[in-house]
Structure formats: structure tokens, C-alpha cells
């Protein structure tokens, strides 16, 4: 609650509403003239005696405004209450009982939702007379499908919850379960929508009064504007102030509904977090290409969250020779995908690179955490996708759903080779489709028309479009079934050897790495805890975490042993960290592990381990 009030928009609008409510309740006791008394002289402009002036009959406008608040709030509360109650009852019955009841009811909601509120209200008031009670009922009668639809979907999700099922199997009756367990838990969005409904009701009543169809005996803001309209030139204050009051009250209601909606919907909140990115730095153009295709030194990347900053990549260093392959392994959340994103410099808005150097084929692309600019252009832009590309995980999301595969590939091709022309682009794509084994006629398909395996192949084709020297494959097969997985990994491996490209394969599966990579980097809590040639890591794993990962692999003889190998939750790197990050889950952990940061120990040829107990090679 306190967190909700901390949002300025919510706090402000709540304040306005409390004030309006107080004014409305206190109206009879406030030292104001009778709102209907024609006591003062007419058309008096705002001044000391009448703060907001008087109208054509000499009535005090401030007093009428205050009494108008009562009417506005009454209309808002009564009509949205009736509307919400109707909606809650019909919506929850429809959602709870489902079947043909739901079929008919939800069709009815849709139909009634299409009837324009104002015109029905107009008709009802024209036929029945302009009593305020008709107005309120009419507003409720046309707005209830809103709440009904919300309630229905709430009930649909809530009714399968465990506690509901438990209550039912314990013998509780349907009405009891619905009233006690389901409806109360589904009310939040109804309340949110209720505030917006209240605003709508106030505006509808005001509009009606403005047309002269309001309650003749009531003091309504809409009616005040209706009367003020005729005296607009002579006494503009007659219409200015009631309109302002309407605007402020309705805006407060809408802002409250909006703010509550955002506060209740964490997904909308997360978008707003942004990390500050570092400015690019200029570097001269390098002379010759050096030996390693990629050199990474002390790379650091952080995510800014509401409560903390997470150091997802926390000082990672490695080098990859041209044509080499490196597997990066770890549990989800260890920072492996973040590292891939940091290398490509494509990150979520709340992520930022905070340190480290990256050199691609002798060309610096990141310097002390700053993107490098060479000859006025960001270095990463000159190599990304033409020399360094990536295969994203879950191709269904990584491809644009409303464009055909061919359109996307052609545009990506022409972006970097605008002079080539469409025919050349199509030829190249056809060639790639042959390589990855998709019939050329499928080029014109939309992503959703392809199977998961085919989509992943399209993603691979996209990454190979410009014959890159290094491909970063981020879980390229996770979403696929095992057979297709093997097939695609085999293809990637084969392509790599044939085209002589270097590969960084990011995966959680040690088995995949064993088949595809020459070297392995094991990541834990943002750090590389072990880096070694693939044969060596399976023969002599140096880090207890690596040992656990290998132990969790399925073997030919025995069943999978994931849980037995590694209990506990992954470490989240935030704040200052003393000791070894793996210590809480480590079976070998001693006092030193909890107190001192472990050293990086070289245990053999190209083999380093981040552990107090690793034995250095002599």
C-alpha cells in the first residue's frame, strides 16, 4: 500500500479525491450561501465577496460548485457500484460454470459492450424523464459488460487454483466457493476499472445535463456549463469553473485507475527501469589483424532492478582463436546469455556494460567498458552481423511474426550490401536454404507457419547471411525436441568446420558441449569458474561446480541425477561479495571459502580453475 502511494500520480489523485469527498460531505456545514438562492447581483465577476463570481440569477458559483461535487460523486459511486455488482455476478457465474452458459453469456457481454452508452442513456432519459436515478441506472446498464468480462477472465484463471480445488473436494458448495474463495481474489482489476468507470459516469451525466436532459432540480456541473454557454461572452466564469472541476475530478479518477493498473501489473513497471550506458570512446583504426578472433578481458555487465543491481557478468576473460569453438556452460541465471549479449552490445534497457575490453580480430570494440568508435563509427556496428553474428534462442520470438522469412532475410542482406540488389539477395538466401536443408519454396512462409526446427534453421541462415567469422549461438536448440536438437547441432558443427568459422556456444547442457566444442568455460554467478579443453574437463574437472554439472549428465547405465548432484539456489551476485560464490552449495566448502575470494589457479595446459582447493600444475 505504501509503495502504491509513493507513485506521485496515485498520491496526487488520491489527494484530489479525498478532498472532493470531504467537500461533498461537508457541503451543508460550509459557510457558503445557499446554492439556489438568487441573493447576489447577477453576472458578478470573481472577487472578494464571491470568489468564483455569480451566475445570471445571482447565485454564488463556488457554492454551486461545492454542491455539484455531491451530485458528481453520487452519480460516480452509485452507477459504478450497480454496474460492478451486475458485472461481478454475471461475469463470475459465466466464468465459473463455463460450458453453454459461458458461451451465451460471453456473447451477450460482447453484444452489450457494442451498444454506445451515451445514446442508450439519451433514449432512456428521453423516454422516462430526466430524473437523476434514471441516469444512474442507464449508465450502469450499459457499462456492466466491462466488469463482467474482467470478472469472467479472473474467475477462469482462479477456479483451477489448488486452494479452490481443495475447498471443493472438502465438500464446500459452489456458491460458497465462488463467494468465499474466488470472487474476493479476483476483485483487484474490477476496482481499478471501477475508478475509470466512475470518470465515465461523471462525464456522461455532465454531457446529459449539458444537453438539457439532466435532473432539473439538482445542482450539476454539466447543467452549470449548459447555463453558462448562453452567457459565454458576458460571464465566461459561469462555464470555466464547473468545467475545470469536471476536468480535475475525472482526471484524478483516470490517473488513479491508471496508476493502480500499473502498480498491480509488474510487467508495465519493469519497462521503466533503464541503466545508464557508457559513452563511446574514439580509437585509431588498427593496422593488422591479430591472431585470436576474439579476446575478452575482465568484461562486466550489470542489470538494474528495483531493489538491487545484479552483476550478471562479473569479470570474465577468455580468448578464442580463429576457427575455434568455445562452449559456455552454466545454470540459467549464471550470466552466460548476458555475456553473449554484452559481446554483441545488444542488451535489455536495464542492462549496461560497466567494464572490460573486447578485441575482435585485432579491432577493439570495447575499451574499459566504453564502446569503441573508430573513424566516427561505433566499431561494433562495423562488424556485427557481417563478421560477428548470433543465433538467438527461441527463433519464434527472434523472427518478426508479421513478415515472411524471405522479406526478413532480404532486408537483412540488403542492409549491409545495398549495392547487391534483390536478385543477388534472393540467390544468396536460396543458397543458404540449401545449406541448412529447408526447401526453397518455404522462403515465402511466415515464421508461425514453420516447424520449430525449421524456424531455428532460418535463424541459423540469418546468422550466416554475410559469412561471419564468429557466431555466438545462444541456446540454439533449447526449445526443440531431442532428435531435432541433435540434428541441428550436428549441422552447426559441420558448417563451422566447412566454413572455418569460430563458434561460441552458450548452453546449460554439458553433453552438447562435449559433442560440439573444443574448449569449455563453466560460468557460475557471473564468473568463469573453470576454463579448459573439452577432453580435460570431462577427465579431470577441477571445480566442484563443474563436477556437479558433469555428475548430473545422464549416463548410459543409470538414470538422470540432476537434483542429487546440486542442491540449493544459484548465487545472485550483488553488493560486495566476500569468499567463494559457490561456497553455500559446495560439498567441499571450508572456512576459507566463506572468507576469502578464491584465486584463479592454473592446473594444467590451458586449464584454469577458480577454487581454493584446485591444485596448481608444477
Amino acid at each position: 500500500m505504501r509503495q502504491v502511494l509513493r507513485r506521485p500520480a496515485i498520491a496526487l489523485s488520491a489527494l484530489v479525491l479525498v478532498f472532493a469527498l470531504a467537500v461533498a460531505l461537508a457541503a451543508p456545514w460550509l459557510p457558503l450561501p445557499d446554492p439556489t438562492a438568487m441573493a447576489a447581483s447577477p453576472y458578478e465577476p470573481p472577487g472578494a465577496a464571491h470568489w468564483l463570481g455569480t451566475d445570471n440569477f445571482g447565485r454564488d458559483i463556488l457554492s454551486r460548485l461545492v454542491w455539484g461535487t455531491r451530485l458528481a460523486l453520487m452519480v460516480a459511486i452509485v452507477s459504478s457500484l450497480i454496474s460492478s455488482l451486475l458485472g461481478i455476478v454475471l461475469g463470475s457465474l459465466s466464468g465459473y460454470f463455463g460450458g453453454w452458459i459461458d458461451g451465451i453469456a460471453s456473447r451477450a457481454f460482447d453484444v452489450f459492450l457494442l451498444i454506445p452508452t451515451f445514446f442508450l442513456v439519451l433514449l432512456i432519459v428521453a423516454l422516462f424523464g430526466s430524473g437523476i436515478q434514471y441516469t444512474m441506472v442507464a449508465i450502469a446498464l450499459t457499462t456492466w459488460p466491462r466488469s463482467a468480462r474482467i470478472m469472467r477472465s479472473q474467475v477462469l484463471t482462479l477456479k483451477s487454483r489448488t486452494y479452490v480445488q481443495a475447498a471443493l473436494s472438502a465438500g464446500a458448495s459452489h456458491p460458497w466457493v465462488l463467494a468465499r474463495h474466488i470472487v474476493p481474489n479476483g476483485l483487484a482489476p474490477i476496482v481499478t476499472d471501477g475508478t475509470i468507470l466512475m470518470g465515465l459516469a461523471i462525464l456522461t451525466e455532465a454531457g446529459l445535463s449539458f444537453l438539457g436532459l439532466g435532473d432539473q432540480n439538482a445542482t450539476s456541473w454539466g447543467r452549470m456549463i449548459f447555463e453558462g454557454q448562453r452567457h459565454l461572452r458576458l460571464a465566461p466564469w459561469m462555464s470555466i469553473f464547473p468545467g475545470l472541476a469536471l476536468l480535475i475530478l475525472v482526471a484524478a479518477l483516470n490517473l488513479l485507475g491508471d496508476g493502480l493498473n500499473q502498480a498491480l501489473n509488474p510487467q508495465l513497471q519493469r519497462q521503466s527501469l533503464r541503466a545508464k550506458r557508457r559513452e563511446p570512446v574514439d580509437r585509431p583504426s588498427p593496422q593488422a589483424a591479430a591472431a585470436p578472433i576474439l579476446e575478452v578481458r575482465d568484461l562486466r555487465m550489470e542489470y538494474r532492478l528495483e531493489a538491487a543491481t545484479i552483476r550478471a557478468v562479473d569479470g570474465v576473460s577468455f580468448a578464442l582463436p580463429a576457427g575455434g569453438s568455445l562452449g559456455i556452460v552454466g545454470e540459467s541465471g549464471c550470466g552466460k546469455s548476458s555475456m553473449g549479449a554484452a559481446l554483441l552490445q545488444v542488451m535489455a534497457p536495464n542492462a549496461a556494460i560497466t567494464g572490460g575490453d573486447v578485441v575482435f580480430a585485432g579491432r577493439p570494440i570495447l575499451s574499459e567498458g566504453h564502446p569503441v568508435r573508430i573513424d566516427g563509427q561505433e566499431a561494433i556496428r562495423t562488424i556485427r552481423w557481417t563478421r560477428l553474428s548470433t543465433i538467438f534462442q527461441s527463433a519464434i520470438n527472434a523472427l518478426n511474426p508479421v513478415m515472411t522469412v524471405q522479406q526478413q532475410l532480404v532486408e537483412a542482406y540488403l542492409l549491409h550490401r545495398p549495392e547487391a540488389g534483390r536478385t543477388a539477395a534472393l540467390a544468396r538466401i536460396g543458397e543458404l536454404f540449401d545449406v541448412i536443408g529447408i526447401p526453397r519454396r518455404r522462403m515465402a512462409s511466415y515464421p508461425h507457419e514453420l516447424s520449430g526446427g525449421m524456424r531455428q534453421r532460418v535463424m541459423i541462415a540469418l546468422s550466416l547471411l554475410h559469412e561471419p567469422e564468429l557466431v555466438i549461438a545462444d541456446e540454439p536448440t533449447t526449445a526443440l525436441d531431442v532428435l531435432i536438437q541433435d540434428q541441428i547441432l550436428g549441422e552447426i558443427d559441420e558448417l563451422r568446420r566447412r566454413l572455418g568459422l569460430a563458434l561460441i556456444l552458450i548452453t546449460h547442457d554439458m553433453g552438447i558441449v562435449a559433442e560440439t566444442c573444443e574448449r569449455v568455460a563453466v560460468m557460475y554467478a557471473g564468473e568463469i569458474v573453470e576454463l579448459a579443453p573439452v577432453e580435460r574437463i570431462f577427465e579431470r574437472p577441477g571445480h566442484p561446480y563443474t563436477q556437479a554439472l558433469i555428475a548430473s549428465l545422464p549416463t548410459v547405465s543409470g538414470p538422470r541425477r540432476v537434483l542429487s548432484a546440486l542442491p540449493g539456489e544459484p548465487f545472485v551476485p550483488t553488493g560486495t561479495i566476500a569468499g567463494c560464490r559457490f561456497a553455500p552449495r559446495c560439498r567441499m566448502a571450508a572456512d576459507i571459502c566463506r572468507e576469502t575470494v578464491p584465486p584463479r589457479v592454473i592446473t594444467g595446459e590451458g586449464h584454469e580453475v577458480l577454487c581454493h582447493f584446485a591444485e596448481a600444475s608444477r
Binding site: L114, I115, T117, G207, F210, A251, V346
Partner: protein
């Protein structure tokens, strides 16, 4: 073939809406206090006309037969006679449609264009001060009572700084043909269109903002950014294209509110359209016209929803046809 089936199915869904609207209309007249024939013929109707109306609606027949008669009447386009002019209501309504269409169409087009542009602009930096300010302004905009805003515009641009006309669609002594006529109407349109836009422009700003921000968070945007498309292309070519789909959908749902706004706006500016006609009918208690307007407005909204659904289906390849 499947497309044709979808269109047919969706068009058939139009029928229950029509039925509900007509039946609702019928029930309301019967529930209303007072003599139905007086409601339909007007309080000052002469006995001969009253008898004619009684005969036409079968008011001495059983309830269900009356309902059936009414359904058949409305279905054949007979919305009764206005008791002021004794002219068919449908004809009177159709006569006013062009003026309202001009007002509503222009303001909707401008709202969508401006709203989408502003929304897309602020979507690039969700959570920034600019975003908060514009979002706040957007909410304030659709909280403005449109009729009051119209009056304020008149106060400002006709009374204080007299540069724009505030009444009607044409000047009394203005040209009646050619480019001068068009310009005259355009000048008269400025204020009402601006007033009517408050109903929808804020909604489109917010909608475009949320929609574009959502799309910008999707993986395929990361892909096109990684491929190296300039940010401008990412925003305008990829994000906006995908984000426009929800904007299209809401266009249909919004129409009810916009038509409401049109009635109020036309009243303020004496615009010779449907809204003005409804207002005058209310003043004269001309029930057949109000009923006819209700039917026509409801069916227009339902039709708009139908059209947007079909457009959506045509635009989004994911809608399985």
C-alpha cells in the same frame, strides 16, 4: 475459401447485435411511462395521425405481434416518422450523415496520426520524465469534457482573439462553390475538430506508446537491432508496423465514444450533423428520431467493430484464416 468463411461468420455475428438493439428499443418504449402512441406521434398530434400510428405499430395487437411488426419495420429500413417534420426518420438521418462523417472522420484521422506519432516518440524511452509528462497529459486529455473544451476554444479563438468561426459549417455570405467553399468549410472545421479530438487523441497516444514499447521489448527487435538496422528503421519500419495492429482494433471500439463526443461538439458549434439533429429532437421530445438515432448509432458502432476485425484479420498473418 477459408477467408470467405471467416468473413461470412463474422458478418453473421452482426445479426444478434442488431436484434438486441431493436428489441431493447422496443422494450424501452413499452416500459416508458405514458401512452405509447403519444410517444410515437407526439403530444400535439391530431387524432387522425394518432390513429395512423396506432394502426402502423399494431398497438391494439398482442405484445409479441407488436414486437414482430416492429422488427419487420426496422429491418426494412422504416424507422418511423419524425413528428415534427412528418418525414421518414431514416431519410432525415441519412441527410445529416455527411456533415457528421466529415467531422468525425477528420478528427479520428488526425487523432490516429498525431497520437501514433507522439506515442511512438515517447515509447523509445519508457519511464523517462518526458514519457511521464506526456502520459499524464494524455490522461488529462481524455478527462476533458468535450463540450466544455469546445466552449473554451470559442472563448479563446472567437471571443478573445476573433480569428476562427464558431458557428455552423459555412459562412452565411461565403462562396458556394469551388476552392473558396472548401476553404470556408475547413475554417469552420478547425475548432470543432480540435474539440472532438480530445476524446480520442489521448487514447491513441497511450495506446501507441504501450503498443510500441511492448513491441520494442520483443526478441525480434533485438534481432533487427543486432543485424544493424539504424534505430530509426527499427522504430518506424519494424516496431510501428507491428504495433499498429492494436491501434487498428481500438479504432472500432473507440467509435462509440467519438460519436458521443460528436453529438456534444455539434451542439456547441451548431454543426449541422446528426448530433445537432439529436439535440433538436431532444428539445422537441421527438421520440422517433431519438430512437432512430440510437439504432443507427449502435449499428454504426457494431459495423465499425466488424470492419476492424476484418481489417485486423487481413493485416495480421497470424490470424488463422
Amino acid at each position: 475459401m477459408r477467408l470467405r468463411r471467416y468473413v461470412l461468420l463474422r458478418v453473421l455475428q452482426f445479426v444478434p447485435v442488431t436484434l438486441v438493439v431493436i428489441v431493447l428499443n422496443f422494450l424501452l418504449i413499452h416500459l416508458a411511462p405514458g401512452d405509447i402512441s403519444l410517444l410515437l406521434a407526439g403530444e400535439n398530434a391530431d387524432p387522425a395521425y394518432l390513429a395512423l400510428v396506432r394502426e402502423k405499430f399494431g398497438l391494439d395487437k398482442p405484445f409479441l405481434e407488436q414486437l414482430w411488426r416492429y422488427l419487420v419495420q426496422v429491418a426494412s429500413g422504416d424507422l418511423g416518422l419524425s413528428f415534427r417534420s412528418r418525414q421518414p426518420v431514416l431519410g432525415e438521418i441519412l441527410e445529416k450523415v455527411p456533415a457528421t462523417l466529415l467531422l468525425v472522420g477528420t478528427s479520428l484521422l488526425l487523432s490516429v496520426a498525431i497520437g501514433t506519432w507522439v506515442g511512438t516518440w515517447i515509447a523509445r524511452r519508457p519511464g523517462s520524465t518526458l514519457d511521464s509528462a506526456v502520459s499524464f497529459g494524455a490522461v488529462a486529455l481524455f478527462s476533458v469534457p468535450v463540450f466544455w473544451f469546445g466552449l473554451m476554444l470559442i472563448l479563446l479563438f472567437t471571443v478573445e482573439i476573433p480569428i476562427l468561426p464558431a458557428m455552423g459549417m459555412t459562412s452565411l455570405d461565403g462562396p458556394r462553390s469551388g476552392i473558396g467553399y472548401v476553404l470556408d468549410i475547413a475554417r469552420h472545421m478547425v475548432l470543432p475538430v480540435a474539440a472532438l479530438m480530445t476524446v480520442s487523441v489521448g487514447q491513441y497516444v497511450r495506446l501507441a506508446r504501450t503498443s510500441v514499447a511492448d513491441v520494442l521489448g520483443e526478441h525480434f527487435i533485438t534481432t533487427v537491432r543486432a543485424i544493424g538496422f539504424p534505430e530509426r528503421t527499427v522504430l518506424q519500419h519494424y516496431a510501428l508496423r507491428n504495433a499498429l495492429l492494436p491501434v487498428v482494433t481500438v479504432l472500432g471500439l473507440q467509435l462509440g465514444l467519438v460519436l458521443t463526443g460528436a453529438v456534444l461538439t455539434e451542439t456547441v458549434f451548431s454543426w449541422p450533423g446528426l448530433g445537432r439533429m439529436i439535440y433538436e429532437a431532444i428539445l422537441a421530445r421527438d421520440t422517433p428520431v431519438i430512437m432512430g438515432a440510437f439504432i443507427v448509432m449502435s449499428l454504426t458502432v457494431a459495423l465499425a467493430s466488424l470492419v476492424t476485425d476484418l481489417v485486423y484479420a487481413a493485416l495480421d498473418p497470424r490470424v488463422a484464416l
